[in-house]
Point group: C2
Chain length 432, copies 2
């Protein structure tokens, strides 16, 4: 069994160890929720203050030119591109993930309507992140299409000649299960369908190569593994073979070929810039750039491949320790064991045969851990196929092997002491 | 003629004078561009720093509950409501103006399609802000509708039985001309059309009473007269008689009735909350709240009515001084003289009979003023109906009567000295 000393030795030998010095992490906290909101880069406070006091306060309207505000979506997009296998000029940082999904799914459906008008189906996963399904439902209602939800293993059979678009999240938000993007994209293309990939739990977490996979459309989130801050703008990528084919419907002035000509007729900018819509929140974009820089700082140390290797080592260790040291407490593993099938999180289930109502206790266990400074999160199941989940994000940029050991030790103590049964840990509140 | 001493006396007697102490304005600057980007509230730097270091840095994911992040769009919306004649719970602060327009115009067109499917026309003004026209064009293309652009005086005749929606910006961005919202709305309703009002140049600038006008849908901007900072989130209002009738198509999880149940089916929240879509940028929302508070600080001093009286006094003075003191230099007035027909800006034109190509010189004059610290902006004309514009926003929260005197004095000197002819003032760059 791996010991605390073993973990400390692994930290001492970790070539990525210095990357954690980029972050401001509160004392007493082991943060296993970077898949929900990444931690604060140390540079962000000063950079945001500069935008507020210098660029806004002193530069005022002049900063649109002098501080480069106009180019922020493209400049940040080029940084994101390096993390997801895209080329410079193929990505913009803008708006929210949901809104960007609306843009790319609209465009994909336009292309399908032109190339294969008989295809009337969007296929997605039943346990996809709900907002993705809501956006797809709205577009189906507008366009007279149908959304078909399947389980992951049913995807190959669902790729019928009726399918216009296969819309998937690369890494599942609940379980951490990861699709093989290249293989699934190839299967979709072989069946005549386009692909839309949501990288919310992938960008900055696992290596992604959109161009190598010949993916069609992609979006992702700025505030999870990219450490961009609460509600940071999201991003959007469109393969160059599609980018100029259609307007996306959120055709605002920032996507115009010449926004400052103020002409009454829309003329889309070439390439990805037409996926911009309105004026972007500069304070939040500035913080996002600080977050992106923390991930790009790994490039001289091996980049995403090195981060991935450490992420897998951390999560293997978490799985090993949790199942060994918490044995007898009903924990199970919801995340696939195979490396190629999972992202950068470990999800546990809990069966609690003693509970008369079958309640898993997972919510209260997560609350008890949070009270000890071990911050993960809880995702409710539906009692049937999807059980309650204890979700632990393992972010190699700022977590070490001892952190994993200590987190599991807290979990063990919470379970053995029964402190999770305290009433204060069973009061539900809004969760993210 | 009004003298500098007169202006100084008016400042000394101005009951709203203390409101300017809320702002951090760079030395040597007379800022006449608050209609493009409002100035920095003194509270914003500390508040944004608190969000970055305390709420994000220390609170991390817990701040969604403990720092009230979830309620920010509604909490700020309630503050905006006080400025535009809306009730609490009727407004949310979210996304960009362009995106919010897409939401409300979609909803308006849904209602029209159900109540009066034969109506296939959106009517708007030819000189409406272009992004509004682009969004309308995109929706027309999606839904098989047509956008008809008219001049302001042609609106009554354009309200035919074919019109589904009349979409207008309340105060014109180029000229400052203001529509009579109540009268135009009544005329639209009498003709069976719905109204969409863009308040980008109205909210915080002129009194607005959406409910008294029985308007249908409205959107507006956070970074102009509301002083919310560069790219601050925008806002959206829907009359309660319409709010629950339709989904808007940007149906993301923040607009769900129970977002944290993570159910695969969309169920819209009641009321205005269904106009939310994805996660919002908290740093930029925090700055917006500081801006809103600067406008609400006028409430004990008479609120928007008192601000309006001062705005009109400032703009009357600007017009009087500019036309008197710069006589002989070809300046004309593009903004209507009648108080009820204009917003909070003064727009000048310039004819330059000596220029062989008919060039107005307006661009270079604005650049020469900016070099002197008098920041207004330039809007290019189309040579025909719309001339080049020198645009001066007069924000009563932070401008005084002496500021107006000094600004006009600089304009006089720029014109009389001919310094605007210098090459450096004639180099075009991107403008906002």
């Amino acid at each position: 069994m791996t010991s605390l000393t073993d973990c400390q030795q692994r930290d001492a030998q970790d070539p990525l160890r210095s990357l954690r010095d980029q972050f401001s992490i509160p004392g007493g906290v082991i943060y296993l929720d970077g898949n929900s909101l990444g931690v604060l880069p140390k540079t962000a406070a000063a950079r945001v203050a500069e935008v507020v006091t210098q660029e806004w306060g002193s530069g005022l309207i002049r900063s649109w030119n002098s501080a480069g505000w106009f180019e922020m979506p493209q400049r940040l997009g080029d940084k994101i591109a390096r993390l997801i296998g895209a080329a410079p000029g193929e990505v913009v940082a803008t708006d929210s993930t949901s809104i960007n999904l609306y843009k790319v799914l609209s465009a994909a459906l336009h292309i399908a309507a032109q190339d294969a008008p008989q295809r009337k189906l969007i296929v997605s996963e039943r346990s996809n992140f709900p907002t993705d399904l809501y956006i797809a439902q709205a577009l189906c209602a507008e366009r007279g299409l149908r959304l078909q939800l399947v389980e992951p293993e049913e995807i190959p059979a669902a790729l019928t000649p009726e399918v216009a678009v296969l819309m998937l999240t690369h890494v599942n938000y609940r379980t951490g299960a990861m699709h093989d993007m290249a293989a699934v994209t190839a299967a979709a293309h072989a069946a005549g369908a386009l692909t839309v990939w949501d990288l919310a739990h992938s960008a900055g977490a696992v290596p992604v190569d959109l161009n190598a996979a010949r993916a069609d459309f992609s979006i992702g989130c700025g505030y999870k593994y990219l450490n961009g801050g609460p509600g940071a703008p999201a991003f959007v990528w469109v393969h160059p073979r599609h980018a100029d084919r259609f307007w996306q419907p959120l055709a605002g002035w920032w996507g115009h070929a010449a926004p400052f000509e103020f002409t009454p007729g829309y003329r889309p900018a070439p390439g990805i810039a037409r996926y911009l819509c309105g004026t972007q929140p500069m304070l939040s974009l500035a913080a996002l750039e600080c977050g992106l820089d923390t991930v790009l700082a790994a490039e001289p140390l091996g980049g995403m491949a090195a981060l991935r290797a450490k992420s897998l080592a951390l999560s293997d260790l978490f799985i090993e320790l949790a199942l060994q040291r918490c044995a007898g407490h009903g924990l199970g593993l919801a995340t696939p064991r195979a490396h190629e099938q999972r992202g950068s999180q470990v999800c546990l289930t809990r069966t609690n045969p003693k509970a008369p109502d079958g309640a898993s206790g997972a919510y209260a266990i997560v609350q008890a851990l949070i009270a000890r400074g071990v911050i993960g999160d809880f995702r409710a199941g539906d009692g049937d196929r999807h059980p309650d989940i204890l979700r632990f994000g393992l972010t190699p940029l700022y977590l070490g092997f001892e952190d994993v050991w200590q987190a599991v030790e807290h979990l063990r103590q919470v379970l053995e002491s029964g402190e999770w049964r305290r009433p204060e840990f069973n009061q539900k509140m809004a969760v993210t």
